[in-house]
């Protein structure tokens, strides 16, 4: 019997909506309901209904006993991917109409010059000039002329514009003109949703800032009503507290506070993995974790060092640039549905194409003919043919063999087994490179990290990826298949503030740290107000200061978290980070402060999961089957365990297959599994002879 109050996390994916609930004693339940892409509110509610039904309570009781309802949704991203956003108008500084369309001419792959840029989100005829100009130091050179806004408003009204973005040159240094334009526009178009760049992304660089602001306006049409309707539905059904959303920064925030910045939800789903990483950090016994979350289409890699997740403020979604504080998630197209192929000159490839959820892998028998990673896993005996996910899918070995035989084995002159193994090796190489980019390029040695394998398809790649990396150990949460939904139950509130500063660090010292302190204090006042509105005060309201710093002349900044305003302390912190990233420092180099950052964090009470009584008996396999383990040993008659009966402190040595409710695990030759205190999977990786 579960004890209220509950925490609930709901994560909407392409195929399933995951719901995880944790009760007052720390008991966890996970549910998967089919997603309803046409009506995501309905998807959330059906997951809630499923949970309530399983618990034999009504929806009202379930919700009224829920103290924390946290939601992650890909609705912002999907709006962008599916081009279903608002008709957006853009106000720009006169003479600079086309920054959005010129895109700094940033080509992702120069050799592929035939590929068009993604569609520009605001056509030129809706990018209208405003008479005004601010200089780089924030002084006004051309005063703001409200008449030009009035003229633009007439065009917007005539064209049926639904949302307006405002981005003027150097507004990060002086937002007055943007504010005035917004106020003026509101007079003429009171019902149109308006967003100004200085509100959402007050940092230097007009292209990225414009793009961020436009995306914000573009996704608002679907995101804002969705959030409002979902909140209203949940409230009417009995949810006593505000609905919280996971933002790209991995923190939660109430929808009252997110309403002005729907673009900050673009990584809403995957960023919630942070909550899980923080939680499992304790159980793994390591503060240094790298997670690979492998789903149907991609692998998301996230790094946590000293319990802090690596962050960025520059992300690209489907070719659109966004400057918003985000969990630094490195994504590669390496998932269960990734398609393998052989090119005309005989080179094996895995991706970038994927089979998606429809038609899906060949073995799903839904019309997919090309071989995928899942087909290879089936051919290698790591997955079992037959019904899956309650019979929603039936895996056909014959179809998998046929696809691999036709498209890979025959063209390469390999056996079906070698072809399938080659696909797995190649996709694991892609995962390895993603892990390396997330770690080595930031100056971290991945071998000193514990690898965490999550997502439905992640655990099967865990041991070999850890082996390739040279990681000593691997951790797999039992809830791997609902990693993000669980993370939502353990996400603090977080709101990020940024302010452009652009001053010489040493001169800041001369003018006295008071100026810098004053700037931070102004941000803090606002931050504490937001936290108080959310119900976090005293020790539950935490503030973290950071600086974006660089040597003069450089174009890239490094974010350095530091609470000091003393120049030499800041320099030391910067040099330490710089040394780690680049291997050298410029001892006398002038340092420029570019931005001041403040993270306002509302601390939730730590989750405390119910302890599982340890057991010392050896686990018993429920069956055996031939499974391809590695290149050296090939197929081995392998014991198969039911994960739900494994418990704390039990041990196993590979080879083994473990079947969990939401995922399947593999242990390679000699890999040693120990069930952790919280009854998750810790694997000591056998290095050496295994190929």
């Amino acid at each position: 019997m579960l004890v209220s109050p509950y925490r609930v996390g709901v994560d909407i994916g392409g195929t399933f909506t995951d719901l995880v609930m944790v009760d007052a004693r720390g008991a966890v339940r996970a549910f998967k309901a089919p997603s309803v892409p046409s009506d995501p509110t309905e998807g959330v509610l059906s997951a809630v209904r499923l949970a309530a039904e399983t618990l034999s309570i009504d929806v009202g009781t379930f919700l009224s006993n829920t103290e924390l309802f946290v939601h992650g949704s890909t609705i912002a991203t999907n709006t962008l991917l599916e081009k279903k956003g608002a008709k957006v108008g853009l106000l720009v500084t006169e003479g600079f109409r086309d920054s959005l369309e010129i895109r700094r001419s940033i080509r992702e792959n120069v050799w592929d010059h035939r590929k068009p840029f993604p569609e520009v989100l605001v056509p030129r005829y809706l990018r209208l000039p405003v008479t005004e100009r601010i200089e780089h130091d924030g002084t006004v050179r051309i005063p703001f002329d409200p008449k030009s806004v009035a003229a633009a408003a007439r065009v917007f009204a005539e064209e049926g514009v639904e949302a307006v973005a405002i981005c003027f040159l150097h507004s990060y240094a002086n937002p007055e003109h943007e504010r005035a334009a917004k106020a003026e526009l509101k007079k003429h178009l009171p019902d149109v949703w308006v967003t100004a760049s200085s509100e959402i992304s007050p940092t230097i660089g007009e292209y990225e800032r414009t793009s961020t602001t436009v995306v914000n306006a573009y996704v608002s049409r679907r995101v804002v009503p969705y959030l409002e309707s979902l909140a209203a539905r949940l409230a009417s059904l009995g949810l006593p507290r505000k609905l919280l959303m996971i933002q790209s920064n991995g923190g939660a925030i109430s929808i009252d506070e997110i309403g002005y910045a729907p673009a900050s939800l673009v990584l809403s789903g995957p960023a919630a993995g942070v909550g899980s990483l923080k939680f499992f950090g304790e159980d793994t016994g390591s503060e240094h974790l790298i997670s690979i979350e492998v789903g149907g289409t991609s692998c998301d890699v996230t790094l946590m060092q000293h319990g802090m997740v690596s962050m960025t403020d520059q992300i690209v979604v489907d070719g659109y640039h966004l400057n918003i504080p985000s969990v630094d998630i490195y994504t590669v197209g390496a998932g269960g549905g990734t398609i393998a192929s052989v090119d005309g000159a005989g080179l094996l490839k895995a991706g970038p194409e994927g089979a998606g959820s429809t038609p899906g892998p060949a073995c799903y028998g839904r019309g997919g003919e090309r071989p995928t990673v899942t087909d290879a896993q089936l051919v290698l005996g790591r997955l079992k043919p037959g019904p899956y996910a309650g019979g929603a899918i039936t895996l056909s070995l014959e179809k998998a063999v046929e696809a691999i035989e036709t498209h890979i084995a025959r063209p390469l002159g390999l056996s079906v087994t070698d072809a399938a193994a080659g696909i797995i090796q190649l996709v694991e190489q892609n995962i390895l490179h993603a892990v390396e980019r997330a770690s080595l390029e930031k100056g971290y040695n991945p071998r000193t990290f514990t690898l965490v394998a999550a997502g439905g398809a992640g655990p099967l790649h865990g041991p070999s990826t850890a082996r390739l990396l040279g990681s000593p150990s691997l951790y797999i949460p039992r809830l791997a298949g609902v990693f993000c939904a669980f993370g939502m139950c353990n996400s603090d509130l977080r709101h990020d503030f940024v302010r452009s500063w652009l001053k010489d660090l040493d001169k800041t010292a001369i003018s006295g740290p008071g100026q810098l302190e004053g700037a931070f204090e102004a941000m803090q006042a606002e931050a504490l107000e937001v936290l108080a509105r959310e119900g976090f005060t005293g020790s539950k309201a935490q503030l973290r200061r950071a600086y974006d710093l660089r040597y003069f002349g450089q174009q890239w900044t490094i974010a350095v978290e530091n609470s000091s305003t003393d120049a030499s302390t800041i320099r030391a912190a910067f040099e330490q980070a710089y040394q780690r990233l680049f291997g050298y420092v410029q001892p006398s180099g002038a340092i420029e402060i570019v931005n001041l950052r403040l993270a306002a964090i509302g601390k939730l009470d730590a989750l405390d999961l119910a302890k599982v009584p340890p057991r010392v008996s050896d686990p018993v396999a429920h069956s055996r089957r031939p499974v391809w383990i590695d290149k050296k040993v090939g197929f081995v008659d392998t014991p198969v365990y039911d994960g739900t009966v494994l418990t704390s402190h039990q041990q196993l040595v590979g080879p083994a297959i473990i079947e969990e409710a939401t995922t399947t695990l593999i242990l390679g030759m000699g890999d040693k599994l120990t069930m952790t205190d919280a009854s998750n999977y810790h694997v000591d990786i056998a290095h050496g002879e295994a190929a």
């Binding site: 003479g95 600079f96 109409r97 086309d98 920054s99 369309e101 010129i102 700094r104 001419s105 940033i106 080509r107 792959n109 120069v110 050799w111 592929d112 010059h113 035939r114 590929k115 068009p116 840029f117 056509p123 030129r124 005829y125 200089e135 780089h136 040159l169 150097h170 660089g205 007009e206 292209y207 090119d343 005309g344 000159a345 005989g346 080179l347 094996l348 490839k349 002159g413 390999l414 070698d418 080659g422 090796q425 190649l426 190489q429 892609n430 490179h433 390396e436 980019r437 080595l440 390029e441 652009l502 040597y551 002349g553 450089q554 174009q555 890239w556 990233l581 680049f582 291997g583 050298y584």
Partner: protein
Amino acid sequence: MSTVSSTEYDPVLIAILQRQLDHISLQMGTIMIRTARSPIFSQSHDFSCFLSNADGETIAQADGLPIHSGSGGFAVRAVLRDFAGRIEPEDVFILSDPYAAGGNHLPDWTLIRPVFVDGELIGFCSNRAHQSDIGGGAAGTYNAKATEIFHEGIRLPVLKLIEKGQLRDDLWRLLLLNSRCPDLLEGDLGAMIGSTRIGAQRLADIVGQLGVKKGNAYLDALLDYGERRMRQAISELPSGTWEGSDVSDTDCFKIVDVETRVKLTIDGDTMTFDFAGTSPQIRGFKNSGIANTHSAVYCALSAFLDPDIPHNEGTYRCVKIIAPEGTTVNALAPAPMTMNTVYPAIDIMNACWGALAQADPERACAGWGKSVFGISSGKKPSGGVFVLYHWHGSSGGGAVKGRDGFPTTSHQMTLGGMFIPNIETYEQSYPMRVHRYQMRSDTGGAGQYRGGTGVDYVVDVLAGGEHLLRGEGARKPTGAGVNGGQWGAKGSIKAFDLGSGEELACPPYGVEEVEPLHLVIEASAGGGWGHPHLRDPDAVLRDVRDGVVSRQSALQTYGVEISADGKSVASTETRGKSLAATPHVQ
């Protein structure tokens, strides 16, 4: 081809190795961007990173500017030639000279680090990057007055910069002493050294794991794979002979036609580009050396073919280039050649694209506008030297089937690989104020796919100093149309004294001493692909609404009449007659 057939190799291992080497090259690039000090590296990405085998053949260059690709091998082979038997672990070589050391032009310095496994040389890890200043007759590396390479800056033969792990301090001081921006140079060289160190370690790890013998064989197998891909791509084109050419109108001193001519012969799965008939080398610095000419041909060919053909030197085995000595595509010392990575590289590309377009019109690439902008340099009011590239005056790109030309983009030979800086960042960094930066109207070459428009760029340079002029696209259209598409409009450049407002003379080439300046630049536009009457009428409507095509042009050029309110297509009646007469591309 290697004597070992591909079937003896594990195809999975080859696939993995290809990815590993590309990964190393990309990782080196990230290190360069993040550690370099000058904006040319970090903002404009004017560099490339590449790996070679022990014979100096390039095996991976995933991170690279197209115009750098294909010439790295010349540099590594110059090291092998000059230091045969004296290449040691922990050595790092540096070079730049296009005549003596396999360089492409003097500002691009190449760092080459040999990679050893078990005491055996197995390859090289290198990068090549444009330095901020290398001395010579003009700040910022481009001396438009040069008539000999000696006027263009310090010449570096193959030198050992680091000898068995020891940096040669004397040489280091010599290099810094020869630059106007020693601080930038020092930071950027540091970035280059660090990047090759990490790349070399990783290459050594990979080959070490395979063992030297097997590792070397697999590196060769990658070259063989590249060769197979290229032969296959060539054999899909018809065999035959086609000619192409492009004409530049100055030798940097006077208006004169300088022609680049090429005869392309496709014979089964091989290809020959013969530049016989190209103009003799010229007085000014738009001469190419053999390495740069190879790069330009490679750039044109790779852009024309499938983008995922690997960019390694195996692909060169079936492509022959004949570049007669003493011409602009293979000049003899001491002809100046700093401009060559832009001109004649673009002329070479255009000549090759012209010939290739006839072999396969579907794949034809319309020409990109040639850029008219120059470089301002001087002293900042706050002290310190600045060198300001006016990238915001960049031209429009050419169309291909399936997309319009990019509105404004870095030079054609980078294929858009150099990013245009934000104006805000530029105004923070340089004494300048931009007044206008937006797309032009009725300029993009009309076509089924329209050429890029180019931009109007109006700027004040607030500090006096020098202004380098090097405009190519200002006197006649330069972005060629293909398959019935029209040429993009020409550009223009006007300069005014900022104080007096008086207009200044703008010669086609040269370095002018200037007071604070007001520049008005119209960037030239790209060419169109296919006949304008085949353009989707809705796309024409959108262009009219966007103000990049006038109503009049819509009617006269595209055969689309726009309604009185400007919001719909009224008629396409005038199209019927002329369409029948249009050579339609299948």
